[in-house]
């Protein structure tokens, strides 16, 4: 057994991080430009925005914070549902499962690529809104926090769903969508939580998008439902829960 020394832990941790980073990098190289990823992760939120704008439900400027929230949700959770089934089919997933690191490192590495993808897209949307719509900003720090934590949270959610043992990305994408679409409507993104029916309000509290959206809205227009610390803490709780469940599922389905 390895002795429990500080250098031993450090050594182990660095192994895990190097492997996680290698796994993420491979996703960047292979999957970022896949049609399935672009359609589900980039085009969908864009169409959503155009639909709401065209329907004159709100001014484009008022829609920007919500758009960023939805974009992180869809882009962060668009990589793993595509990459993992393909890797199961090509048997490259066995390589990752057989690496001398824990499943936590594997799950983290997979999520990391979703996180980076989401950050990339969010920055593009943020900058575009700034230039084209000249969106006013109250507190940019809150926007950054919101994007960062929600991206990791939704990326881990994508990794969690991708644990389902199938070789067909469509199977997982449809499962993820069952969760992603309702979240848009119950998380206060376009419809304020206060105006929702009581049951929907209850559900809103267990939606990570609620807290992500709260941070981003706060950053743009200063209107917040919760304290920023509550938002961040809730997002961290979701990240940990998703990570643990994902870890369990990958172990369970590794036959």
């Amino acid at each position: 057994m390895p002795s429990i020394s500080l250098s031993g832990i450090e050594d182990r941790l660095s192994r895990e991080l190097v492997a996680a980073w290698a796994i993420a990098k491979k996703d960047v190289l292979i999957y970022y430009l896949r049609p399935g990823v672009i359609v589900g992760g980039v085009l969908f939120p864009l169409f959503m925005f155009l639909a709401f704008t065209a329907g004159k439900l709100a001014t484009p400027v008022a829609l920007v914070p919500g758009l960023i929230g939805i974009t992180t949700l869809f882009s962060a959770s668009s990589i793993e549902p595509v990459s993992v089934p393909i890797e199961r089919r090509m048997a490259t997933f066995d390589r990752l499962l057989a690496a001398p690191v824990s499943l936590n490192a594997l799950v983290l590495g997979e999520s990391l690529s979703g996180l980076l993808y989401s950050l990339l897209i969010a920055v593009v949307v943020f900058v575009a809104a700034l230039i084209i719509l000249m969106t006013p900003i109250t507190n940019i720090f809150l926007i950054v926090l919101g994007i960062l934590f929600s991206s990791l949270c939704f990326a881990t959610l994508g990794t969690l769903f991708a644990a389902y043992p199938t070789e067909n990305p469509g199977d997982i994408i449809s499962m993820v969508n069952v969760v992603r679409f309702p979240l848009i409507f119950i998380s206060g993104v376009f419809i304020p939580i206060a105006t929702l029916p009581a049951v929907a309000q209850m559900i809103a509290y267990v939606s990570p998008l609620t807290y992500a959206n709260d941070l981003i809205q706060g950053g743009y227009n200063g209107k917040m439902t919760f304290h920023p610390i509550v938002d961040v803490a809730m997002l961290i709780v979701f990240i940990v829960i998703f990570q643990l469940i994902a870890n369990y599922l990958y172990k369970r389905f590794s036959d």
């Binding site: 182990r12 660095s14 190289l29 292979i30 090509m90």
Partner: protein, 318 residues
């Protein structure tokens, strides 16, 4: 310390018992073959020994590390080459090597050195910057093996390394395995190719339907069935099916089959069979162009132990 120590390993998939209570050990530096037909449980065994698939019961240790409880430590010293050439086809040969090395946290300079050396050794260096998508089947196989060696493992798992490959790739791979053996690397090799097991392995386990039927050195396995000898004969006018039937009826012939341009006749008494064959040739107005007596082959051992008929998924020549 033993490189691999397996004790009462069982693997069930639902109601199917894929591996049924196997035990064996492999010494450090040994080349150990797992020989069996398709579906015997070879891949399942490797997946358990590499910690991908948890055993239903029983234990396995790798250089003293329990594969279930100390998975990470056990994997550190192993290289794995799986049955399918699982390379990333959207990455180049070089990128594939880098990814494999980083999963083992091999530092940059060592990574570059190992990758360069291995790609050269497997004759892939010139194509290192091409995506593996454009590689032939043999090249992908070689890349898979190179990736399995990138961490300089003390123990290498090879799941059917040469199955269905072109001659050139086959030769490169067999040569590489011989080199590794000389370097003292422990090799655990599965194959359904009897000749491969015979040439490369110091000890062979014959596995069938999740059971180990026998474990021993190839030569000793052959000795256990000295009673099965054979006579190989080629006639001037070829090998017709009718002739096979007629040869089967000769005295002292226990069985016969066609092998290429020859017939193989099994017997306990080769001398008498040779006489019988010569007489047969005379009465049938043909000539014998070659005739040889053979000791039992590993294949004969295999057939005897598993009751397997030819064509049942095992091959002597691939």
């Amino acid at each position: 310390m033993e490189a691999i120590e397996v004790s009462h390993l069982v693997k069930q998939f639902g109601t199917l018992t894929a591996i049924n209570d196997i035990s064996f050990s492999v010494a450090a530096g040994e080349t150990f073959g797992f020989l069996g037909p398709n579906g015997a449980g070879k891949t399942t065994t490797i997946r358990m020994l590499t910690g991908i698939s948890p055993p239903t019961s029983g234990t396995a240790t790798i250089f003293g590390h329990d594969i279930v409880r100390e998975t990470v430590a056990a994997r550190q010293s192993m290289g794995i080459v799986s049955e399918t050439s699982n390379v990333y086809t959207d990455l180049t040969g070089w990128q594939n090597m880098m990814l494999a090395a980083q999963l083992y946290r091999i530092g940059r300079s060592e990574r570059d050195r190992n990758a360069t050396e291995l790609l050269k050794r497997f004759e892939l260096y010139e194509r290192r910057d091409t995506k593996a998508h454009g590689y032939s089947k043999g090249m992908r196989r070689r890349l898979t093996i190179a990736m399995g060696l990138v961490n300089s493992p003390r123990l290498l798992f090879l799941d059917e390394p040469t199955s269905g490959l072109d001659v050139e790739s086959n030769l490169i791979i067999r040569e590489m395995i011989s080199d590794l053996i000389k370097e003292g690397v422990t090799v655990f090799l599965t194959t359904h190719n009897i000749e491969e097991a015979n040439i490369l392995c110091e000890r062979v386990a014959i596995i069938d339907k999740g059971h180990i039927a026998a474990i021993d050195a190839p030569e000793r396995l052959k000795k256990t069935i000295q009673s099965v000898q054979s006579v190989e004969v080629a006639f001037l006018d070829g090998t017709s099916p009718e002739r096979l039937d007629e040869l089967r009826l000769l005295p002292m012939v226990n069985g016969a089959r066609k092998e290429g341009d020859k017939f193989k006749l099994f017997t306990e008494n080769p001398t008498e069979v040779i006489e019988g064959v010569m007489a047969y040739a005379q009465t049938h107005h043909t000539r014998v162009i070659s005739i040889t007596t053979l000791g039992p082959s590993l294949e004969d051992v295999f057939v005897k132990l598993t009751g397997l008929q030819r064509g049942g998924g095992i091959s002597a020549i691939d």
